[in-house]
Symmetry: C2
Subunit: 225 residues, 2 copies
């Protein structure tokens, strides 16, 4: 008896959605850019339906704004949304790392340490892209160990706005060495169950991401609300 796994064939709708989302996050479609169902459907060589449904999804996530009978536009960056996204992430990650200090599965701890080794390797190779993924994964492992994967999903969802803002800075001012060191110390704190220390480390870690919104807003006024 063979269980036939149904591999979700990426639908046209999802393909269009992912493509648009990617372009918006990379600022290839800058804030304010008008999008048109017709135009986009011609560009992707598909009908208007999947395009339209992609727009609706993007609108729900706040990445585009749909004005009935007027047009659809890439959303301007909302500073409040960015700051609150950071705020929520900080509060939730601080709470979760406290949980991790109280109870954390052995295999998750092993995953963390493996991840740290990979981070070191990627730093050597100056593989920024991979380093970024490992950073995300590190935090994800902590949530997974605390059985809070849905919380992690929510955080990632909220952070698309923050990420778009981050993209405005030239990407390479990431101080990976510093981030790695913080990761390492957080893992140790979890291992030894030092909740207060862990929370403090996480707080500092996440505040590194605070980009000076005011500066960016002045530099790219047309991108901001």
């Amino acid at each position: 008896m063979k269980i036939t796994l149904r591999p979700q064939p990426v639908s046209t709708r999802d393909a269009v959605y992912l493509q648009l989302r990617d372009q918006i996050l990379k600022l290839e479609l800058p804030p304010g850019t008008p999008l048109s169902e017709n135009e986009t459907s011609l560009l992707f060589q598909v009908s208007r339906t999947p395009v339209r449904e992609s727009f609706l999804r993007l609108a729900q996530e706040g990445l585009v704004q749909v004005l009935p009978q007027r047009g659809t536009f890439v959303s301007l960056i909302d500073t409040e949304l960015v700051e609150e996204g950071r705020f929520m992430r900080e509060q939730l990650e601080k709470s979760v790392i406290r949980l991790a200090c109280e109870q954390f599965p052995e295999e998750a701890l092993a995953s963390l340490e493996l991840n740290l080794l990979q981070q070191e390797a990627s730093m050597m190779k100056q593989d920024d892209k991979h380093m970024f993924e490992l950073d995300e994964a590190f935090h994800g492992i902590i949530f997974e160990g605390c059985r809070k994967m849905n919380t992690w999903s929510v955080i990632q969802q909220m952070n698309v706005h923050l990420n778009r803002s981050r993209m405005l800075r030239l990407a390479d001012d990431h101080n990976w060495q510093n981030l790695f060191e913080q990761h390492r110390r957080m893992a140790e704190a979890i291992k030894s169950g030092e909740a207060d220390l862990a929370e403090q480390l996480m707080k500092e870690h996440l505040s590194l991401n605070i980009t000076d919104q005011a500066v960016l807003k002045e530099k790219y006024p047309s991108y901001y609300k």
Copy 2:
């Protein structure tokens, strides 16, 4: 010069969405119920398009599950999702009420006190529905005073799952008197800036909402995942 405010005329899509959402949350459409685009469009006397778009939105919010070429079903209640929703709300509300203790606008404090008066009146009249709305509003005012409205939106979004679970209990075991008392004490703590006390009150207040999932799951096994 008159600014012509454009009152978003409720689109067909939104009308269908709101109606379905309401029915799902009230368990008039119990978890597991099959929904059909065709059937629903006939029921609402509209075409498949707005119905389909409503389904997509509901799917994104986790209220329905769409299986391509097979069907669309009202989502089973996910215990993990419910518990994590409660967890996130607790963490965020605790942090925000701390903020409120440090800095809270005068007019927001006035709104809180007006709200408390209205709560008392509603309790007298045993107006449960209004009391529920005032409860929501009370928390909303705190977020508004801290300029964290987006955070509040996220919480409300996450809590649809918790609310569906809550709906399973007979609605009238709400101990409004107790809730009111907690609200009153929280408002006082904000006024006097007692952050630790406020946080503790909020924690207790929200833990009242912890329904014993296991019991409900046993009583309504077909509703749960």
